[in-house]
Symmetry: C2
Subunit: 479 residues, 2 copies
């Protein structure tokens, strides 16, 4: 199996995602192939988030992937933020294009231009659209799922009559992202506001959910932006208000991406491979015949029967009747993150039971044939909150509140390293200056994650300048 998880977490990650066949590298720099088990994780996330969209009356649409250069130029901060990472189509066949076309890194410009056409009156507002799409950002350093040149995401774009309504949408989506991560993916998150230097290019305010991986590093798992009227100005998104006056709309945008797959793996995976909550696991139950099962056809008959029953209930079940040894199969399905393993051999059959192993628990349970169906139902229900609870406890142990100076932070990092612990998330006081952020990053590699909505405790002084703190925020190393 993969490299030791504690020795070199990144190496463990890289080996696991390949060996478990979640992804393959591709011939295009920084782009990966989402293999079926990897892509299926994304399909379950799509399905879950689409439920929220339907409930909110936000409809899916699809916009062109190629964005004319002139569109990008309309919002100055936006082009400045994205320019270095943009791939450009300059030719078709053998002919040069008159205007280069960018591969979308995000669609504010394209959708802003459409909104300008579609929105006329206050009666059209709020105008709320979502898109599932591939996007491109040519990052220098890439990592499967977490940072790839092409990735998949959803991007929601909305226009509103005023700031209040736009901010309500921004927050409501952030709450849903947090719910999606915690209840559905069993990933605890930290909700808060990004500092100005970490804002989305062109946003007035950016809010994020941050997740802590097993190695203590952060992943920005989702963002929701309030744009004010900046994009409305750039793209002329105006409406006639009730007094018949032309008025600028307030817009928002928000997204989660296939980064979530990386977060899933790095939150739950263990030394034996992948661990997934049943909500998204491609294999919820795997049935494995053991002992001299080939000489005893009744074993496969029983397993076929169990398979049919579970399948019929919509459970994602697989039956491994290959020629590999049971031990090999146990390892393989642990690697792939099957939630529940059901074993049945000659003696089990005689005794009218199976042996059941939960992926996230030690030890096996003996379960009678007649109880198996309800046992599996219960375990599929119980596993997701159990994983969330475990992750929360781990996070708690890796949160640090008592670091008040840069020297203390450095000492903490060194001590963690020496003790084989992860440095985790550190709560600091911040005077609101970019100088502090730059200094922390330069000296420790830590970056500001967000200013949490729920501050565990108020910090009084800036960690670098020692001046009175304007905000209390989380810093961490980040993917």
């Amino acid at each position: 199996m993969a490299n030791n998880q504690t020795n070199d977490f990144t190496e463990w990650y890289l080996q696991t995602v390949q060996q478990a066949e979640l992804m393959s590298y591709s011939p295009v720099r920084g782009s990966i192939i989402f293999r079926p088990d990897g892509f299926e994780l994304w399909e379950h996330i799509q399905e879950e988030f689409n439920k929220f969209l339907r409930k909110e009356g936000i409809r899916n649409a699809y916009f062109p992937m190629l964005i004319p250069q002139s569109f990008f130029m309309k919002e100055a901060d936006h082009i400045e933020g994205f320019a270095p990472e943009l791939p450009w189509v300059t030719e078709v066949g053998n002919e040069k294009l008159e205007e280069p076309l960018a591969l979308r890194p995000t669609s504010e410009t394209m959708i802003g231009s459409a909104f300008s056409d579609w929105i006329n009156s206050y009666r059209d507002l709020p105008y709320e659209i979502n898109q599932w799409a591939n996007v491109f950002r040519w990052e220098k350093k890439t990592l499967p799922f977490l940072r790839t040149s092409e990735f998949l995401w959803q991007e929601g774009h909305t226009a509103h009559v005023d700031e209040e309504d736009a901010r309500r949408r921004t927050m409501r989506v952030l709450d849903e992202y947090a719910r999606l991560c915690e209840e559905f993916l069993a990933i605890p998150v930290y909700k808060g506001q990004k500092t100005p230097s970490e804002r989305f290019a062109g946003a007035v305010d950016t809010y994020s959910i941050e997740a802590m991986m097993k190695d203590g590093k952060a992943v920005q798992a989702g963002t929701s932006h309030y744009m004010g009227t900046k994009f409305a100005q750039a793209f002329d998104i105006t409406y006639l208000n009730q007094e018949n006056q032309h008025t600028l709309a307030h817009t928002t945008s928000w997204g989660v991406s296939t980064r979530l797959l990386g977060s899933l793996i790095m939150t739950h995976g263990d030394q034996n491979g992948l661990v997934f909550p049943p909500t998204v696991a491609p294999t919820q139950v795997v049935l494995i015949p053991v002992g001299p099962w080939k000489k005893n056809p009744a074993i496969m008959e029983k397993l076929d029967e169990i398979f049919a029953t579970l399948k019929q209930k919509g459970i994602r079940v697989r039956l491994d009747d290959s020629n590999n040894s049971p031990g090999y199969k146990f390892n393989e399905w642990e690697l792939k993150g099957a939630c529940i393993r059901v074993e049945c051999g000659p003696r089990d059959l005689e005794n009218g039971h199976v042996m059941v192993k939960m992926r996230d628990l030690d030890g096996k349970e003996t379960v009678k044939f007649e109880d198996l169906e309800s046992y599996i139902d219960e375990q599929l229900q119980a596993m997701t909150p159990r994983l969330l609870q475990a992750a929360k406890e781990r996070n708690k142990a890796n949160e640090h509140y008592d670091i008040n100076t840069l020297d203390e932070l450095k000492a903490h990092i060194e001590k963690s390293k020496a003790e084989g612990k992860v440095p985790g998330f550190v709560l600091i006081g911040w005077d609101g200056t970019e100088e502090t952020e730059a200094k922390i990053k330069e000296e420790t590699g830590f970056t500001t994650r967000n200013i949490p909505f729920e501050v565990p405790m108020q910090k009084e002084f800036d960690i670098v300048s020692g001046k009175p703190a304007k905000h209390t925020l989380w810093i961490a190393r980040a993917y």
Copy 2:
């Protein structure tokens, strides 16, 4: 409303898809915006085809969109076929790429290369993958949905131990495409084999389903290709057979695209706008209060109650309580293709009934409140086969079997025009030469559609050369 459908069908189409808000033009040549009602049609098709994939054990995956130039060069016919239409990424940020990257027009090369890595033994076969993706073909003439520079599709790619197994997959998918069109979309299709000149670039055999639009023109609605070992040779897709010998796999590929949306509209639409089968209609039922309903709150109470009941059953229902007049609403929802319109005014309420209008039938029915739910269920069931039947009858009337020479074909075309009829599909004898195909196209604009599996009658002589016919096939003007 839109232009007259019989006078200028294309103009009717272009106006209808925009007015009904299925699409908008975009600033990128030949690329369209799929607005929510347009995109939802595609979502329903995806859902339906995914059921088939799941049943067949074919899993979804996602491959990089950018394809290195060198990949295209590996299969000579393939690059020759696609080269003129390929958009190229040549720069990122301000830097030139070492190797240009094409925007995928299809993914045989990318997936072939992955198959080469993943497939080792006969035990790995068949290896069957599907991808939902955006693809790019820079066509000279574009038409919303039917021919756009960027479009959405599914592409299935499979590898097999031998020709027999690969051909079985090719045909099975073609059958499913036909079923999808007929039973799900109510679009009758003609199944058959493409002539060599119309084959997919690199295929050994290409099979298609062809649909006849209301103006008698053909749409190639889906294709399934048997590749032989051509791509296996180009990308080294080999496996160890049971005798431990390296053996070339046989591959297939197959796809349907958002062209299906164009086919839907052009098959069922009428003078009043869109007509959709309930299987895909974004609005299955629309509820409209009529008469002085604002003075009589009990009307809206009743409609709210009906709305809640239908919604709860999963029916896509809308309640139009806007300030527009009933007549305006009737027109708007006919334009948008709502399947069933339910009207309720003061007198209806008194009498305990509603008025119901089916989009595809003349006249209204009176339906008692207590019968409405089951009436709607029945009508939603009945409408799709009814639309299919209507389309089949229209097709039948526009099939021509008695045209034996090019002069007769020209005369037929002129006569049709003079009589305001559509020239439709013409069954001809073909000697198997490209000369005949070229001559027909040059003189009449008709192209060979396919050699049908079920020939209505055998034609003895080639329509151009008069030589004995090798095949009997359909020709038509095509989108």
